[in-house]
């Protein structure tokens, strides 16, 4: 009875993924991060002024 030893090499897996945004997504994200909080802050400030 013969026995054979086989060496198994794991396959190399691809690893170069990048998360991207389109120009439209970047604009939307900028709007949500900057313009939207600014607009809300402005609205809040107006209410505060009215309340004084």
């Amino acid at each position: 009875m013969s026995r054979e030893t086989v060496t198994v090499t794991p396959p190399s897996l691809f690893g170069n993924f990048r998360e991207r945004k389109t120009a439209r997504q970047s604009l939307r994200s900028l709007f949500l991060r900057i313009a939207l909080p600014l607009r809300l802050a402005k609205r809040l400030a107006k209410r505060l002024v009215r309340g004084l």
């Binding site: 396959p11 897996l13 691809f14 993924f17 990048r18 998360e19 991207r20 389109t22 997504q25």
Partner: protein
């Protein structure tokens, strides 16, 4: 004709013309994202596109509506769907359709800027074989996933496809959920250098496979 080809050829002419327009469940957000990605990749020039598993060409119709500058070859093995596409674009020299197996793409010559899989790769008998074939024809590959390849394990299921025809009713089709490692192995063997991932608010994703 194999079982899958038979299934995808079971649509009535009426359903074939409406498939993924009003019949089926198209995701509009990722469709719009796909156009934006193509526009960004185009750099302002006209794109030469090939769509694998194009069905009735509803994506080309959407590209036209969004004023994308492109020429287009749609590939599918479902004659009813292809006929619906041919009727839709009759007389349009920039858009054509060919009956071929998207696993082998043996009937197609020429070079394309981008090969597109839009909600298709999850339903092929071998996503890997098809990607290898389309890589021979295109500089980049863009995949719109409805089932992103992020699962822990890879599974393939046999599911029922509603043909909308009372006599044939439901027919079988394949549905892959690709695991992360399975996808990464395919990309490594394909010789991809980088993959850009674009996410939506929904589960859908658009991947751009770069080879240079």
């Amino acid at each position: 004709m194999n079982i899958l080809e038979e299934s995808w050829s079971s649509f009535s002419a009426d359903i074939a013309s409406r498939y993924l327009k009003t019949f089926g469940a198209p995701s509009l957000e990722s469709k719009a994202l796909l156009v934006d990605v193509l526009r960004d990749l185009s750099g302002g020039r006209s794109l030469k596109l090939i769509e694998l598993g194009c069905g009735n060409g509803q994506l080309a119709e959407y590209f036209r509506a969004q004023a994308l500058d492109f020429s287009y070859l749609g590939v599918d093995f479902s004659e009813p769907l292809l006929n619906a596409g041919r009727q839709m674009f009759a007389g349009d020299p920039a858009i054509s359709f060919i009956h071929d197996d998207v696993q082998s793409l043996g009937l197609i010559n020429g070079r394309f800027d981008i090969a597109i899989y839009s909600h298709v790769i999850e339903m092929l008998s071998s996503p890997e074989a098809s990607l290898q074939s389309s890589r021979r024809l295109a500089d980049k590959i863009v995949i719109r996933f409805f089932e992103p390849p992020e699962a822990d394990l890879t599974t393939v299921e046999l599911r029922d496809l509603n043909t909308g025809k009372p006599e044939s009713g439901f027919v079988p089709y394949l549905r892959w959920t690709m695991g992360r490692d399975f996808y990464r192995l395919i990309l490594a063997k394909l010789g991809a250098k980088r993959v850009d991932i674009y996410r939506t608010q929904t589960k859908d994703q658009v991947h751009v496979l770069h080879f240079d």
